[in-house]
């Protein structure tokens, strides 16, 4: 039996498919897939005398993880990066959710003003944010100490950016300050999407304002929080600009603010007495890629599955 194909029912042919997919595939391939593939490939080579690189298998990775000259710096940066991410998770998400909940308070005056103001730092350049905070927190001429003295907390002031024990957390908090607008906005939208009837039903069921938030609103915005978390994870493990703007490539004091991004920068391009090493740089970049890939996969497998069940 032959089937007559109507004009509308024809399956797109190979030519049509190719024509529509080619532009996106080309751009994605040239600017994303190819550089990534080359980076990974590069990490398997060692430079030789005379310039030609030689295939070295996993030797670069062994060096990175086992040779103290490399591994100390690498694990320091990795650990710092984990702290950087942990501070984001512990502060950015709760504060973002709280701000979103406050923005959703019925009858709030100046809602859009608050929303814009709180989102404003996100739109600023990281370099400007870093520079401003460096000035604010400077123990020599910063306004930070004066402001704290004005409210009676002057004795608590310390040169946070300059002390090894506090520099990393301070930088993390600056980053949180800048980007808290994103979870706030996304959670705010998620809160607005919760049907009014659900909240009314919970009130009739006996939940107070906090009960409604805790049992109805919060569980329903958790998928959004999950999404924000994975975006933060990706952003944090790719971060470089804030540290570089405030602390420079050496990520001082004494590498206490060194994260994978800055470690990669010094490895690849070299800095001061350290000479650049493209192959080791590619190795660091590959490890960063694998860390992020692992995080995203955990998210996709666990969070996404739970989200699908919740809908």
């Amino acid at each position: 039996m032959t089937r007559t194909r109507t004009r509308d029912g024809v399956h797109p042919g190979w030519i049509t498919l190719t024509a529509f997919l080619a532009p996106a595939a080309l751009i994605y391939g040239v600017f994303s897939v190819y550089p990534l593939a080359r980076t990974i490939a590069f990490s398997f080579y060692r430079p030789q005398e005379g310039g030609a690189a030689q295939f070295a298998g996993l030797a670069n990775f062994v060096t990175l993880f086992a040779d103290p000259y490399w591994s100390e710096g690498f694990f320091n940066a990795l650990w710092n990066n984990l702290i950087f991410f942990a501070v984001h998770m512990a502060v950015q998400n709760p504060v973002g959710i709280a701000l979103a909940a406050l923005l959703a308070v019925p009858g709030l005056k100046g809602r859009s003003l608050y929303r814009t103001t709180l989102f404003l730092p996100t739109m600023l350049s990281v370099v400007i944010v870093g520079f401003i905070w460096q000035l604010v927190l400077s123990p020599l001429w910063g306004v930070g100490e004066e402001l704290m003295t004005a409210v009676g907390l002057g004795s608590w002031f310390a040169p946070w950016l300059g002390e090894e024990s506090s520099a990393l957390v301070t930088l993390s908090l600056i980053s949180v300050w800048q980007f808290v607008g994103i979870p706030m906005l996304l959670v705010h939208v998620a809160l607005l999407n919760i049907p009014r009837d659900l909240i009314d039903a919970a009130r009739v069921d006996g939940a107070g304002a906090f009960g409604v938030f805790r049992h109805v609103q919060l569980p329903l915005v958790m998928p959004t929080v999950g999404l924000v978390s994975i975006l933060t994870f990706i952003g944090n493990f790719n971060a470089f600009d804030l540290i570089y703007a405030v602390k420079g490539a050496l990520a001082g004091p004494n590498f206490s603010t060194d994260i994978l991004g800055t470690y990669f920068y010094r490895t690849f391009f070299g800095y001061q007495l350290q000479s650049g090493n493209a192959e080791m740089g590619a190795t660091v970049a590959t490890v960063m890629f694998l860390i992020i890939l692992a995080g995203v996969m955990i998210y996709l497998f666990f969070m996404q599955k739970r989200m699908l069940r919740a809908i």
Binding site: P195, D197, L198, D200, A201, A202, R203, V204, D205, G206, A207, G208, G211, H215, V216, P219, L220, R309, A310, I311
Partner: protein, 333 residues
């Protein structure tokens, strides 16, 4: 005692009044249906009774106690929403037990109550499912179950059947009537569907533009509508309204003739009319007529109705069936 007493209730949003001078008392165990076109304020009234909106003025008591200062959960009410409003992240079981947790009911008690109500509604097998895994009718049952479990003095229903398909709507309607008999609880039910209103109500409240037009049993309201609006709102096909000389004969500005009270007379008596269109419905036929004296008419005829000859007929009706209205549209007794 679970009577609801409302006096002089008004709700205004700035200049616009959603409710004006609403007084209503619902006796213990009564099934009261608030019916009216959309925007008539029936849902607002229900939400005020629930405590989800606050009245601008007037008084409200539930079970003899002033309810105005009470939070929704303390009024002894349970509400079934049009959208069901089931918590999407909780199983049917947790949806039903959610309110009991706040009442500090012990865990074994909660379990017993949820399971016995689930048994009653035939949803015992669905308790572990989330709302997304339930059909519309099943969600509806869980929503009703969530209300019953709380053992409220007064049930509030906000158009609970409007999201169901026609067949399910009829059976669920029957079940709600049965439930009312079994529980003997006071129920206040909002709908725009006159079939639901007629079949369920002990007391029917017809509303329009934020005011109550008429209160009575369904048959009272149908047979003796207080005004033209109520007469026109109830009944399908719609009541025939005749004005002019013939109405004047009855000493009224307009008269209402129900389609089932018109008869066709072959003898040549009555008012001359001609058939414009016939809608056969199977069980009956709706005959659209045009009469020089009465204007356009709809008549309810047996299903085997057919037009003979050129379609010229005569329409008669009994004088006692005629509803009389004055120039303001109010009924004349």
């Amino acid at each position: 005692m679970a009577d609801v007493d409302i006096k002089g209730l008004a709700k205004r949003f700035g200049e616009t009044a959603a409710l004006e001078d609403v007084s209503l008392s619902v006796a213990d165990g009564e099934f009261c249906v608030l019916v009216g076109p959309s925007g008539c304020g029936k849902t607002t009234l229900l939400r005020i009774i629930a405590g989800l909106e606050t009245e601008t003025e007037g008084s409200l008591s539930i079970g003899g106690a002033d309810a105005q200062a009470l939070a929704p959960a303390r009024r002894g009410i349970a509400m079934v929403f049009q959208s069901y409003a089931l918590y999407p992240h909780m199983t049917a079981y947790r949806n039903m037990s959610f309110g009991l947790k706040f009442q500090k009911v012990s865990r074994p008690d909660i379990d017993e109550r949820v399971r016995s109500v689930a048994e009653m509604l035939g949803i015992s097998d669905l308790l572990h499912r989330k709302p997304a895994e339930l059909s519309g009718g099943q969600r509806q049952r869980v929503a009703i179950g969530r209300a019953i479990v709380r053992n409220p003095k007064v049930f509030l229903f906000d158009e609970p059947l409007s999201n169901l398909d026609a067949a399910l709507r009829a059976t669920t309607r029957l079940e709600i009537a049965r439930l009312h008999k079994a529980l003997g609880a006071t129920m206040i039910y909002v709908t725009h569907d006159q079939a639901e209103a007629m079949t369920l109500a002990d007391k029917m409240v017809v509303m329009k533009d934020g005011r109550i037009e008429q209160i009575g049993t369904p048959l009272e309201v149908y047979r003796k509508p207080a005004n033209l609006f109520v007469a026109g709102f109830l009944g399908h096909p719609k009541i025939n309204i005749v004005t002019g000389a013939i109405a004047a004969e009855y000493g009224a500005a307009s008269i209402g003739l129900r389609p089932e009270h018109l008869t066709l007379s072959p003898s040549g008596k009555g008012y001359a009319a001609r058939v414009v269109h016939v809608e056969p419905l199977g069980s009956e036929a709706h005959v659209h007529l045009r009469s020089d004296a009465l204007g356009p008419l709809i008549l309810r005829a047996p299903s085997d109705f057919s037009v003979s000859g050129d379609g010229d007929l005569h329409v008669t009706f009994e004088r006692t069936r005629v509803l009389l209205f004055d120039e303001n549209g109010n009924a004349i007794n």
